[in-house]
Structure formats: C-alpha cells, structure tokens
Amino acid sequence: MTILEKVTALLGEGAVLEAGTDRVPRIAPGSPDAVALLLGTAHQEGWRVRVEGAGTWLPSDAPADLALTTRRLDRVPAVEPQDLTATAEAGIGLDQLRQQLADRGAWLAVDPPGLAGRTLGSIVATATAGPLRQGFGPVKDHLLGVTFVTGDGRMVQSGGRVMKNVAGYDLTRLQAGGFGAFGVIVLVHLRLRALPRADVTHVLEGSRDELTQIAEDIAAAGLTPAALELVSPALARRDRWVLAVRLVGSPTLVGSDELGLGAATGGGGRFTALRAEEAHGFWMRLAEGFAVRPVTFRIGGVPAASDELLDLLQHQVGDEWISAAPAAGAIRWTGDTTVDRLQRLRRTLAALEVPLTLERAPWPVRTAVGHFGAYREGAGPLVAGLRRTFDPGGALVVATDGE
C-alpha cells in the first residue's frame, strides 16, 4: 500500500486534499483525534511529516512523505464574553476567528504579520506578534492553554481555560514559538479583551532618527499605546519613515491618551489621525507586507539599543522593509538575502545578546539557518532533549537549528 492508500484507509477520503506542486500527499484531519491517529501511524511507519496551516505563511516546501494541514480544524467550541475567554481549534483563520469574537463583543489583541487568513495554530507556533505586542504583550500572553499532539501521536493538554493556572509545568509556553518542533497544536484556549469602543491611529512621517526619539519620548511620558511602531517607507508605502501610534480602549481613555500624545511630542498637531478605514488599511498592508518577500525574521533587543540595531540591519541586510517597536526593542525585517548574510548577522547579534528568530524563508534557507540556530550556554542540549521527548522518531520536519 502507498502512504496515500494507508492514510485514506485510516482517515477516510475526506481527509485527503489535492497535493501541492511537489506532489506530497496533503492530509487534512478533521479532528484532534484524527491528528493523533495520523501522527501515531507516521511514527510507527517512519514517515516524515510537515505541518501546514493555511499555507500562507511558511512555504509548503519542506521535504516530507506527507503534509498535515490543520485547515479542517476550524471550529470555535467556546466563546465566553462574560469571562473574556475562548477556545478555538488551531486551523481556524484569524480573520474568521476575529469575526466570531467580534459578534460576541470580544477581541483577541493579536495582529500578527501575514495574510488575514493565517491560522491560529501558525500564529501560536511561530509566536509572531505584531505591533499590538507593545500594549498587549507577546503571543504567549494571550494563551491560557493548548492541546497538542506529539510527533508519536500522543495528545497532551497544557494549562486550562481560566485566567491564572500554575498546575503543572507550563508546556503552553514551550509550544508558543516552538515552530512545531514539540508537537502539532490542535486546540487553543485564549485570553480575550472586550472589543474596544475606541480605536484610533495617528501617524507621523519623518527621518528614522527623529521618529525613534519621538517614540522614546512617548514611552518616557508614561503613555501606554496599544502600538507604537516605526515603519520603513517602502513598507508603509510613504515617502519617509512613519511612526504609527494606535490607541484603543474607552473613548475617555483614548481621548486622554491623544492629549498625552500631543504633550509628549511638543504640543501636538504633528501627528495625523487616520480615518477608521485608512487605519485598517495601514495596519493590514503592514501585516501583509511581511508575507510577500522570501525571508522574514525578528530580533529582540533592549529598547535603548533599537537605534543601534536598526543601523546594524541597514549595514548588513538593508533596511528597506522593516517595522520596529523602539519602546519594546522588537524589530521585524523582511526581504531577500543569503544564508551567509543571515548567519553572519545572527552571530553579530548573538554577541550583543540579541536573538534572531527566522520566521519564514524557503526550505533551503530554513534548513541552513534554522528558526532558532543560536542558544546561550547550556541550552542546546535542553532543546535537543525536549525535541526527542516530544518527537522521539523525528517525524516532524522542522528546521530548528540550522547547519
């Protein structure tokens, strides 16, 4: 029997999708149990499995015997607006999830890079936070728990559905940003916010240096914007660098923040408020801009080093397509570059105690550079041990470490 015939016998014809251009069979299990069944079988048979969400973020190009897509895991079993929590399957697109939450007056304060249909599982597995990380924290801060399936088909629950939980080790945080190396996320318990009653975006154009200083002034003034993002001209589709400030909350809070914004930047009047549809378009284009070019990575430095890190990127890989949160020290870069340059950049950054995480790239780049690639003293064996624990047969094709 071929792999496809075995999988069809196992999960039924409904689970078999049309193969991609590389003709790797694409399987879409319809339930978490079916994912466990498939991976358990793959482990026993020695199949290599690549995991895909909607196929809009990571290229579907890793060499594998079969592709497991989570796209049929698209249910939202629970939305609890009174508790501001929800439970969603990993294959639901963020756009669909947002709509279902908004219908109940709730909001997931996450705005990852990529297309609107990116799956929740992809966002969690890659921990790709967007500009809202400034006000609402990284992806892991929005997770109450996850259920995942290991490379040998075991279903594991971590965390729960309530606001605080210290029962057992926090495997949820291992999965957030694990790039699927420790299992396939099938179910996510989310912490929500109430849909903000006011949501405004102000933008200011200028030189990079000038805007970085203004961003620092805003942070120093004690303002807590939801997003405070410095965007390169090409990415913002403007002539100059743009500093975008997003304020969300009650009308009173937002009004107060707008006053504070003016005061922090020398009397106000310099920022331009975007209309609601303009603001939506601005943030959407920014997110989509990171899914267009071949390579995207993020780095995390301390806020005071933001300028220096932007200079370094400009020097080593160019700064045409960059978005940065100077007050949080987070920078995301996209463009086209070589393995050599990425490896050199990672080494340079490591010496500055700044991690570089490769978020997306073609397989040859991923496998050479690795999503993680650099560890501090002693951490490499721990990561390898965790990888062996959750994928003992190496069924999951993930380029964690590079060459």
């Binding site: 801060d141 029962a167 991690p355 003293e377 624990t389």
Partner: protein, 494 residues
C-alpha cells in the same frame, strides 16, 4: 556517606555557620506557610554566592543526594520541604540586587532578594516590580519564579511569568545554563516560560533578570460593600464584561472582614457587610482614571453595592491595602491553624462557586473565610481549624477536596499561584489525563534525569502514562519517589 562527612564537605564550601544539622535548627525549616505538611531535612545548607551554589550542587550530584531549593519559606503548597535523605538548599543569602537599568526598565537580581525590597529599590527610578504577592514583605524573587507567583496587581500587569526576561540556572548536575535574553525574546523555544512555575524541579535560578514597570501617575482606590456575597460576585463580572481592566480587584467576605477589623490591621471595612470589594484603577492621566473609577462605581451600584468609598489620599489607600494584604495574618486570630487554599474558576462562575463553598463549610461545620483575587477568578478559601483536633483535621481535608472538586466542576483549576507542591499532588489527575502528566514528567527528566531536585512534588508519578524515551525500572505503581532515594529513607547514616 555519613552525615558528618557530608557536613564537612558542605562546610568546606560555605563555612561552618551556614550548614545546619542540629535538630532544633533543622526544625526551623520543617514547614512552609501551610501548616498541614511537615518534613524534616537531613541537612540545611545556606550558600552565599552563585559559586557556592554551584559547588554545593556539584557535590550533591557527585554523591547522588536529592536536594530542595528554598527561598523564604512563605510558600503555601508544601513545595519547599525536604524529606529525610534530602538536603535543603536555602537561598536567602543570595540577596543582592545586581543591576537596575532604568533606560531599559529591567533589573538583575539574585534569587534571595525580597520582593518588596526590589520595588523599594527601583521606586526612585519611577519603576516597580509589578507582581505583589501578599507575602511580598518576606517572599523572595527566586521563590516567586519557582511558583510563578501572582498578587493583587497581576490582574492588570500579569503574573511573574510575564515579568521574567532571563535566567541563569544551575541544573541538578551543577552545570549552568543561560535562558532568555535582556529583551525577553527567547533564543529558540521559550525555556524561561517553561522554567517559571516549575516549582524547583528544573534547577536553581541563581541570577534573574526582571522587567520593571513604570509607576502609575494616577491611582484611584475604591472600597465597595455588599449585603450579599452573590451581589459582590456579580459586581466583579460586570466590571470584567464592561472591558475595564482594574489594576486590582479583590474581594473579602464577612468572616475575613471581621478578622481584619478585630486586628491591628483594621482598615475601616464595614463589619456588617457580607462582602467588600477593593478596586484599584491606575494610569498615566488623572482625568481618565477618574472617569474609569466613575464607570466602575456605577457598575457596582447597579450590582447592589450599599456604599462606595474612594481613598481620599495615599495614607487611606495604604490602610485599605494593608487590611487586604495582612488578611491572612489577621485570620490567625480565628483559630490555632489556617489552611490557605488556592483555586481558579471562570469569573462568571464566582457567585455560584462562593455559594457552594459556603455550603461545604456549613456541612463540615468549619469556618471558611474568603479573601481573593476576584478579577482573575482566583479564590483563596481559608479554613480555620485546630490541627490537634484529629476529627476536625479530617473534616478540613475532606472540605478542601470538595472545594477543589467544585472549582474543577465549574471549569476551573486547582491552583492559580500557590503551586502544586505536596499539597495538590492528589488533585493533579483530576485536571490532567495520564498522557499529559506523563508529558510533564518526561520534560522534568530532560532537566533533571535522576529527579533529584525537589523530588516528589508537582507531578504524581503513579498517575503518569509512561513515555517512550525513558523507563524507570525502580518505579513501583503508587509510589512517588526519585530514583536516588525513597521518601523517608535517609541515605545519610546518622
């Protein structure tokens, strides 16, 4: 190895003053903040530097002796107790604040730094360390990391895990590993997030980088009182559902209020109220905070608040908070012993669960007082009892189990900030299946293959499904023990 030989080896590392072997000295460390568990360590050692910690752990690794890291011993789950056969490594002498970086809003500290001392040191820089457990005047940052401690202001600012950027960890072997980075961005998977809350099972944090939070410029503190517990619970739900995120949202029931008011911590809470809510709002602008406080007051009135009082000044605010933070101490007046329980439920379930707890208390003829983080749904039912009264002690045990069962049935969990330790081991199989417990145990063995660090805590081995990649030939069903030593069987000759 004999105890004198081990003592001599430890003494050569830390000096004679910092190794405790006399029974009276060891008895000091036989309990933590929970009076229901008592374990006597074989030896207590207090290293004073990270180098001494490493040397001690390497010595214990070479000898195959289990050890238990301990901070100030304020924990409430029996998590920092060492059996005979284990060495207690007390970290309170590692109490230096190594660096405060105002520009990047971070500090680097040793594990024995007391929580409140860190905030006091950073306040002149306009910053503070946000997690504020009720024991913050005594508990240590290292202990906070081990337990993923919370506190009243974690509702808005997040728990310990949200504030730890990087760690230097000494593993059971004595090897050191560096986890995390100064920005909090991980090198690969989030091992800092995995380590925080691991209750000492993964090693000893010897250097901790924490995120600091700007001091709010405007603060409003409200005290609302209710004539029915359910109404207070509904007030909490109304605030959360309105999308308002107070800095803190705490509840105390009548029994707790009266204990506080009868103590030196009296805060002026109305003694006849069925419950009071302490709500704090903060931000950078006075007008916005005032407007939010007005909105909260209106919601509480709607929920049935009898009166709402706003702290007029910082002094009154401190008084209101002192009553809350010292409530556990005040409840010591009610009886000889007190069990502080910890569970979390969905916030909308609070009114029903509070009624269920009252019913359980009445059925077992026990006094249960509630003081808790209502905004997070994090309950702390406190059971007053006399541990010398055996029938009463058994009723407390039964009531505790029933309270946990009620919280789980409501969709909640067995601990929100105190940890599993010894006390909650028996409840773990109620919320995790054998596969998930097996996964936790397998992860623990990645960090500590011989299970020598804080053995017998967090994961009940008898309930784990075995995972490929490890087998434990010495393990017997129903026995939670490390391979190196069986509980209660000293490896050290006396």
């Amino acid at each position: 190895m004999s105890r004198p030989t081990l003592t001599a080896a430890l003494t050569s590392i830390v000096g004679p003053r910092h190794v405790r072997v006399a029974l009276a000295e060891r008895a000091t460390y036989a309990m933590d903040g929970l009076p229901t568990h008592r374990r006597l360590p074989d030896v207590v050692v207090l290293p004073g530097t990270r180098e001494e910690v490493i040397a001690v752990i390497r010595l214990l690794a070479a000898l195959g002796i289990p050890f238990v890291p301990r901070g100030a011993g304020t924990g409430l789950s029996g998590g920092a107790l060492a059996d005979e056969g284990a060495v207690l490594v007390v970290l309170t002498r590692l109490n230096r604040i190594l660096r405060i970086d105002r520009a990047n809003r971070l500090a680097v500290v040793e594990p024995g730094v007391v929580n409140a001392r860190l905030s006091a040191a950073t306040r002149p820089h306009g910053l503070h360390y946000a997690p504020d457990p009720s024991s913050q005047s005594a508990c240590t940052i290292g202990g906070n990391v081990a337990e993923n401690a919370g506190g009243p202001h974690c509702l808005k600012y997040g728990v310990t895990a949200n504030h730890i950027l990087a760690l230097e960890v000494v593993l059971a072997t004595g090897e050191t590993v560096e986890l995390g980075s100064p920005s909090g961005e991980p090198w690969g998977p989030d091992l800092v997030g995995l380590f925080v809350g691991s209750e000492g099972n993964f090693g000893v944090a010897t250097r901790i980088s924490v995120r600091l939070t700007p001091m709010p410029r405007a603060v409003r503190t409200l005290l609302a009182d209710f004539m029915a517990l359910r109404a207070a619970g509904e007030g909490v739900s109304a605030i959360i559902a309105a999308g308002i995120v107070p800095a803190a949202l705490e509840m105390m029931d009548q029994s707790c209020v009266r204990a506080v008011e009868d103590s030196v911590y009296a805060a002026g809470y109305p003694r006849d109220a069925a419950a009071v809510l302490l709500v704090e709002l903060d931000g950078h602008a006075e007008a916005a905070v005032a407007a939010e406080a007005d909105a909260v007051a209106a919601l509480l009135k709607q929920a049935g608040a009898r009166s709402i009082r706003t702290a007029a000044d910082e002094r009154e605010r401190e008084r209101l908070w002192q009553g809350r933070k010292k409530a556990f101490g005040a409840m010591g007046r009610l009886s000889r012993d007190l069990v502080v329980q910890d569970a979390v439920v969905p916030r909308s379930a609070l009114p029903d669960v509070l009624e269920t707890i009252a019913e359980i208390a009445a059925r077992h003829d026990l006094v249960v007082s509630n003081v808790f983080h209502a905004g997070d749904g994090n309950l702390h039912p406190n059971i007053s009892f006399d541990a010398t009264d055996e029938p009463m002690r058994l009723r407390v045990e039964q009531a505790s189990a029933e309270i946990m069962g009620a919280c789980i049935a409501a969709g909640g969990t067995i601990t929100g900030e105190h940890g599993v330790g010894l006390d909650k081991l028996r409840y773990m199989p109620l919320i995790f299946d054998a596969e998930s417990l097996g996964a936790m145990h397998a992860v623990r063995r990645v960090f500590d293959p011989d299970q020598r660090v804080n053995p017998g805590k967090v994961v009940p081995l008898h309930a784990c499904r075995e995972w490929s990649g490890w087998t434990d030939p010495g393990r017997k069903p129903g026995v939670d023990q490390p391979r190196a030593v069986a509980r209660g069987q000293p490896v050290l000759a006396q």
